[in-house]
């Protein structure tokens, strides 16, 4: 096992606490370390790891090909500044040797040594930044970002920079309410999960930070599985399902999103950070407890939930590969 694999497995946010999975409002305060069977994760809200430069290059490539991955309705200007400062503060607190944010009266200075970047700016003055604030900072983090405005007793997804969407589209969702955005998710509406989540978010106080995880399966570890590029990646599911079982372990990845929910200050907006982690089944299998649990979750998952997650075709090959792997290891 290489060092890179080692560290990926050790820091992977394995999401399953039980042998079955259902949607829930699984929120907890951000920042605490979660111990897993292989290591742990969760100390940092904005997390920089060894794939930082690779993933930022991928984000820039996607954004250059499709600038609509960045969206901001005009009334989200203040929220963009809030988000930028909150992310800069989080980075400089977590990585003081490479990132710093200094303030001298009205003048701010942001330094990101990892990108060899230095930027002075005046808060609220667009002309002092090379691009919109959310786009500027979004290109310096591995997280996707969505900003939710709170008004009329609801939340509205009115801005974002999303290049690593798991089967959705920011351009399609921008301007929708929280309930509309989650409209297609099965089960959660009758169970009240979404309305409860919205009530919870709307009560967050300035500076409060919570987190949750979500998951799906992705073929070939592709970060950009957005609706826009479906023609490019849709067929991967078929080639996986129709291909040899031996290839499944390398190709099929458990995709886990660590999502942070943060109440911003002056705008009162909610910042939604989504960090995507992926681990191929071969690496999951290095941790027998994970392989066993993933096998059981995938086997039990109801069809409507599998359909919504877009894994109807690929979950059986995944289950078969995990079962096969267990037989081979003789347990």
């Amino acid at each position: 096992m290489s060092t890179a694999t080692d560290s990926r497995v050790a820091t992977f946010p394995f999401p399953f606490a039980h042998d079955t999975y259902r949607y829930s409002t699984n929120v907890e305060p951000a920042g605490g370390r979660v111990v897993t069977a292989a290591g742990g994760w969760g100390e940092h809200v904005v997390d920089v790891d060894e794939r930082y430069l690779t993933e930022l290059a991928e984000r820039d490539r996607i954004l250059a090909a499709d600038p609509t991955r960045f969206q901001a309705l005009p009334h989200m200007e203040i929220a963009q500044w809030d988000a930028m400062l909150a992310i800069m503060r989080s980075l400089s607190a977590s990585y003081p040797r490479t990132m710093s944010l200094e303030r001298d009266g009205g003048l701010w200075r942001w330094t990101n040594h990892a990108l060899d970047l230095e930027q002075a700016f005046v808060h609220g003055e667009r002309a002092t930044l090379p691009e919109p604030p959310l786009r500027f900072i979004g290109r310096q983090i591995q997280e996707d970002v969505v900003l939710l405005d709170q008004r009329e007793g609801q939340l509205w997804g009115d801005a974002g920079l999303v290049t690593f969407a798991a089967d959705w589209s920011l351009r399609f969702d921008v301007g929708m309410s929280f309930l509309q955005i989650h409209g297609p998710v099965p089960r959660i509406h009758t169970e009240g999960v979404i309305t409860r989540a919205q009530s919870f978010l709307m009560r967050l106080e300035s500076g409060q930070q919570f987190r949750r995880t979500n998951w799906t399966l992705t073929v070939d570890g592709r970060l950009d599985t957005s609706t826009e590029t479906y023609p490019e990646w849709g067929r991967d599911r078929r080639t996986l399902a129709d291909g040899p079982l031996a290839e499944v372990g390398e190709r099929l990845h458990l995709r886990v999103e660590v999502q942070h929910l943060i109440r911003l200050g002056a705008s009162g907006a909610i910042m939604f950070l989504v960090r995507t982690h992926m681990l191929p089944f071969t690496d999951i299998a290095l941790v027998p407890a994970w392989a066993q649990r993933l096998h059981s979750v995938l086997s039990e998952l109801p069809d409507d939930m599998a359909e919504y997650k877009g894994i109807t075709r690929i979950r059986q090959p995944g289950i078969d590969w995990l079962a096969d792997c267990r037989t081979r290891s003789g347990s």
């Binding site: 409002t25 809030d82 303030r103 609220g124 709170q150 008004r151 500076g207 002056a266």
Partner: protein
Amino acid sequence: MLVVGSLSDLTDDVRHLRLVDPGGAALPAYAPGSHVVLECGVGPDGLPRRNAYSLTGSGVEPDSYALSVRRDDTGRGGSRWIHALSLGDSVEVSRPRSAFAPVSTARHHVLVAGGIGVTPILSHARAAVRWGRSFEVHYVFRGGDGPHLDDLINLCGNSLQTYRGSSELWSTLAPALLDRPLGTHLYTCGPAPLIDEVHDRARAAGWPPQRIHHEHFGIAALEPGTAFTVRLRSTGADVEVPSGTSLLDALEQHGVAVPNLCRQGVCGECRVPVAAGAVAHRDLYLTEDEKAAGDCVMPCVSRAEGPRLELEL
């Protein structure tokens, strides 16, 4: 905890305070119209007095939380406690809570202040100037100059109208309510009769209710609740739950592990079965039917309705 960084008297009975971090740290930013809850000494019942006060700044990257408090000699004593504070005194202050924020999509903002109700309106006006929003302020007060009148004159220029009484106010505001552009939002803070009259007249002038806002205190903070005793059925042990301590905290302090996540009555993780006693449900998780059944409790926020509760623990 913050300390009093400066004090000044705006009028005979209104004192302005700036609360700062004792170490000089920056304070969390807040939405205009936000309030903080201060612990103002201890009341006659032995419980901390908690009062909510609006912050008067724009909310952008504040180095202090500024608030203005009118002394109420007939009140519960919170405002008198604040008026007795000196420079450097410590004050327990909650995070800012936003319940009266400007609507980001509004085309124009009409801000109406009555007396000391000017405090959140000043915050709105500062932010409106800061971000170039279209706005106007109508400020009514009695006798002398209203608190923060100078600040508003400096900020608003021609966008400010002042009045010495209700009839003066309505001679200008009533026609204004008929001709402001569609998409305008209306915000009022002041005495209840003023809030009611603005609301009623705006409704009569055809304003949709979603565009009429007023400041209301007292909903954001969960009350500390009264003390009660909880019995654990498995061991027969009694655990005291003091006022201001959650049932979950009390159980944990007693060595009873209860799985939990959010500790805010939302996630549903800490649900505990109830054997006997009535529950004062304060969570967002249980359905109305479940609450009515009374056979479980979310101990992170909910409490006993009476003096005792018995849990299946």
